[in-house]
Amino acid sequence: MSLLDRPSQALSSGGMTLRQAWGLAGLLAAAVLAWLVFAAWPDWLNAILISKKAFVSAILNGITLAGLYFLVASGFTLIFGLMRNVNLAHGSLYLLGAYIGYEVTNRTGYWLLGVAAGFAVLAIVGVIMQVFVFRRLEGDDLRQTLVSIGISIVAADLMLAVWAGGTYQISTPEWLDGALTLPVITAVRSNGASVFLTYPLYRVVVLAAAIVIGVGLWLMLHKTRVGMMIRAGVDDRAMLQASGVNVHAVFAIVFAVGAGLAGFAGVVGGSALSVAPGEDVRYLLASLVVVIVGGMGSITGAAIGALLIGLAEQIGLVYFPTYGIVLTFVIMVVTLAIRPQGIMGKAR
């Protein structure tokens, strides 16, 4: 009865289905956003949202931060999705990558070499962790998590011993310095000339790198044989093992990619922001929230989650600075209340 009722109601109310309504709402939102970004703002809007420059900068910073969060969280979500292993040392991997990137860049003078070293060294560290630590505790996810906490404590303390408490900045090469003028008008001068928004080139490159890596990961997961095995493992690990796949090799690959991405993000993030003790906790929190919101084991979910959290953090920073973190928290709670498995997560 109710099944038959629903479509007719929808048709009679507006002549369209729920899906179409959502699509229309999305289009409208996109149009409003596009207008907000590209049009010159009237005074009343400037009065509400401080200034157009502040608003657009917050959005852009949010999106680039989301790129960084995505790089860190994608490894976390892959490792969790496949191995049920909540690696709470993931933030430490990020910080270690940043320090290694700093050392290599400083000594060789080549930033790209630092980025490569950050990825490679952390990939090796990841494989070592998987083979020597987590494989021994397979199937016991609580103990794996406890061990990862222990590792993060020891790692944080040893990194403090080696690099002390100071703040480091990884120097970027000259070709990444400078600013990009965007076709976004922030204000109109009295003589009629438009003032365009400028944005650091480096941050745009970070965003581009995150998108390229995200697409690459998606292609790897959906178009290659290893990716197929990983996805099969996320769905049913025992069945994958039974069909003759060496799951431990797959686990090692996933851990290498996940940890390597955390190290890569460390170098890239350490160049945009700074490297200091405590950053490990910040990026661990970001990974946790991104993955809780986006859904475990889903790359698309990690991208959506990262975008939400990055935007919330930066918009919060501009408009309600002392309550900014509450916005992140609310997003997490609302997601858990409506969809406990996360936006793209599969119910188990």
């Binding site: 909540v86 996810d141 944080a156």
Partner: protein
């Protein structure tokens, strides 16, 4: 507890037996401890261990009986500590309503219990290992919020100048009264948890831990039982928070930081989460290490040491020191049964 008090003198033998020799010896030792201990050992070791033992106990209640490993217990304690600072007196010139202790303490514990129930309600939406992630996210977010926010939490510096009250002619800030205050509340919560674990509610909670689906099919409200367990754990953590803020005389975001959250987990895991005595044992070991390891490895590398001990415990004995003991004991019993040479 109430059983022990209401039993008439004639059956005294009976309840002494019920209490068990271990409890009596331990209780006597703890009551007599101030006779031999200096003020430093009384508060910095004794009182501090009991406070963190209570925090560990609130985690043990959730993890051991409910199967929910929480990293937000220090956050709950922090809420009651901040509530004491805000409702009572502090010398940071922010808020401080000047309520008397007998009004501020119940409100602080109530706030902590409600916050704990809320955290529980959020985290029981998912199961298993998700709990640890969600509670860690909540603990970290609260820490950053306390650091950023000046209107309620007074930002980075927090609140200072909070004093334990003086009543019944006793200044509870002094070493001996404070030790007995900690001991009294710790024993009360320990006995409550032990008694509660054998109550209908405790049994139901343990059954839910073992098989939530079956319990749901039998008609039990699984979520309500879990959230109620969070509320009870919140009361214990809230009491510990009150003691903690009186002990330190101050509360700041550092008190509820991620390090502290992990410390509570370490204490519970090192001690063992199968029995309520475990967290107190763990707290004593960790506090002793914190105090004396400085002489061995130096103050800077303490975290490496404690992290290593934690890793070894997790690898060797998942049930902590209690688990080690339990593994040795049947062995000893068998030795004793063996005929002599």
């Amino acid at each position: 507890m109430s059983l022990a008090i209401s039993t008439p003198g004639a059956t005294q033998q009976n309840w002494l037996e019920k209490l068990g020799a271990g409890h009596i010896i331990l209780g006597t030792a703890l009551v007599l401890y101030p006779l031999v201990a200096s003020d430093f050992f009384l508060t910095q070791i004794g009182g501090y261990s009991l406070i963190f033992g209570m925090l560990g106990l609130s985690l043990m209640l959730l993890a051991g009986y409910g199967g929910m490993v929480s990293l937000a217990q220090i956050t709950v304690a922090g809420i009651s500590a901040y509530a004491i600072a805000i409702l009572g007196n502090n010398n940071s010139n922010v808020l401080g309503f000047g309520w008397p202790w007998w009004l501020a303490v119940p409100f602080a514990v109530l706030a902590a219990a409600l916050a704990s129930a809320l955290i529980g309600w959020i985290s029981v939406r998912t199961e298993g290992i998700y709990t640890i992630m969600i509670t860690l996210a909540i603990a970290t977010a609260t820490y950053y919020f306390a650091q950023q926010n000046y209107a309620i939490f007074n930002g980075h510096s927090g609140y200072a100048g909070i004093r334990a009250p003086a009543f019944w002619g006793i200044s509870w800030r002094d070493a001996k009264p404070f030790y007995y205050l900690c001991l009294g509340l710790a024993v009360l919560s320990y006995a409550a948890v032990l008694y509660g674990s054998r109550s209908t509610f405790g049994m139901t909670l343990q059954a839910i831990r073992d098989n939530p689906r079956r319990m749901r099919a039998l008609g039990y409200h699984v979520t309500a039982h879990k959230v109620f367990a969070w509320l009870l754990a919140g009361v214990i953590a809230g009491l510990a928070g009150v003691l903690l803020v009186w002990f330190n005389g101050r509360v700041s975001p550092g008190t509820i930081g991620v390090d502290a959250a992990i410390d509570v987990l370490i204490i519970a895991v090192i001690g063992g989460i199968r029995h309520p005595i475990g967290p107190f044992l763990g707290a004593l070991v960790v506090v002793l290490m914190q105090t004396f390891a400085i002489d061995i490895v130096g103050a800077e590398r303490f975290n490496t040491l404690i992290g290593m001990v934690f890793l070894v415990i997790v690898f060797v004995s998942p049930d902590g020191i209690l688990g080690l003991w339990g593994r040795i004991k049947p062995h000893l019993a068998q030795e004793a049964l063996r005929p002599g040479p």
